[in-house]
């Protein structure tokens, strides 16, 4: 892992090539993370993969989180791994919640990491985050005709009320 000064060094080097790309860093529980401008996410991921001395060539996971009620609301997380030094680095891109009816958008990184294809489809399936440039952005786990984004925090839990006395007293 890069330690906290190492993380700041990486940030400084990215700043030289892509000014303004890194918005923030965090080093929480020994886990380094870069918070990145979503418009420049591809530039940063390409730099981390290809720049000499970096070599974060393996995307071990791509996932999203809904931070409601915080703004920006959505976070897309890229877990990068350097397999030579066994170092992990987390890259976060925070996305604002657009107006009702629209979906948040970010560039697809399938061109950089082919493994992202299914993982971006899964993020789209559950959070409704659109990855621009993805070759086939359709639902992957839920039925094709499903309506809604069920892992968002404002999505109802679902199921049915159970007719126990407790439920009757509290919700009947």
């Amino acid at each position: 892992m890069p330690d906290a000064p190492g993380l700041e060094l990486i940030r400084g080097e990215i700043e030289q090539d892509h000014p303004g790309a890194v918005l923030d860093t965090s080093f929480d529980r020994d886990q380094p993370a870069l918070v990145v401008d979503p418009d420049q996410i591809l530039a940063v991921l390409t730099w981390l993969r290809d720049a000499p001395g970096q070599g974060y060539g393996f995307l071990s996971s791509l996932h999203a989180a809904d931070y409601l009620p915080a703004t920006p609301r959505f976070g897309v997380h890229y877990e990068l791994l350097n397999r030579d030094r066994v170092e992990r680095l987390r890259v976060k891109a925070m996305l604002d919640d657009p107006a009702a009816g629209d979906l948040p958008e970010i560039d697809s990184c399938v061109g950089l990491f082919p493994t992202a294809e299914f993982q971006e489809r899964e993020v789209f399936d559950f959070f409704g985050i659109v990855f621009k440039g993805h070759p086939n952005l359709t639902r992957i786990l839920l039925p094709e005709d499903y309506v809604g984004w069920p892992q968002r925090r404002d999505f109802p839990v679902g199921g049915e009320p159970v007719t126990f006395t407790f439920n009757e007293r509290n919700y009947g």
Partner: protein
């Protein structure tokens, strides 16, 4: 006997000892119940208990005449729903059930396929009888293989035309039904509510 070696009283006794008279539908039900062809079909963790365990030598479904698990719904006449049914799986399960030839039976095994179980969420059907008819519910999470066998023998009695009565009838517990009144989702239908009130009045009279 047909060649006429026995006559008179001896012939009567011979027939009495060897011939059983019954109705044809009873005989048919007896034959069906003892020659079931379950579908090889597992949905989730309950599949370890039902289609896998109960055909092993330890539990041995062959004792009840159902050891031949068929891999095609066209050859099967019983399906055991062993696990939670997701909304994506439900149309496929329904299609399998529709492809089975009549007469056919369905067992809902475990809490998940009977009621959704612990999965009260966006992805799981809250009870398999929302999309197909179920003949037998086996409770448990998961039910032990013995429970599955017990449920299976109960289904056999149902096929033979002599279904077990529920515990309310056995313990004469009419009128003890409880449901949460007032909630939107838990409203009993008017006929059931009327029968309930009538039974209460009869008990307290």
């Amino acid at each position: 006997m047909l060649r006429g070696t026995l006559e008179g009283e001896e012939l009567e006794r011979y027939v009495e000892e060897r011939v059983v008279m019954t109705r044809f539908d009873k005989m048919l039900g007896w034959a069906r119940a003892n020659s079931m062809f379950p579908l090889t079909f597992g949905l989730a963790c309950c599949a370890i208990e039902a289609p896998i365990s109960i055909v092993t030598a330890r539990y041995d479904l062959a004792r009840f005449g159902a050891e031949a698990l068929r891999a095609s719904p066209r050859q099967a006449d019983m399906i055991i729903l062993s696990g939670r049914v997701s909304i994506k799986m439900a149309p496929i399960v329904r299609r399998l059930y529709d492809q089975m030839l009549e007469p056919k039976w369905a067992i809902s095994m475990g809490a998940c396929s009977s009621s959704g179980g612990m999965f009260a969420n966006y992805a799981v059907v809250q009870g398999a009888d929302k999309f197909m008819p179920i003949d037998m519910h086996i409770p448990g999470c998961p039910p032990r293989p013995e429970a599955v066998l017990y449920g299976f023998t109960k289904l056999q009695r149902k096929i033979k035309g002599n279904p077990d009565q529920g515990w309310r009838q056995r313990y004469n517990a009419v009128g003890s039904e409880e449901w949460a009144r007032g909630g939107v989702a838990s409203k009993p239908n008017p006929a059931a509510a009327e029968a309930y009130e009538t039974a209460r009045e009869l008990i307290h009279a």
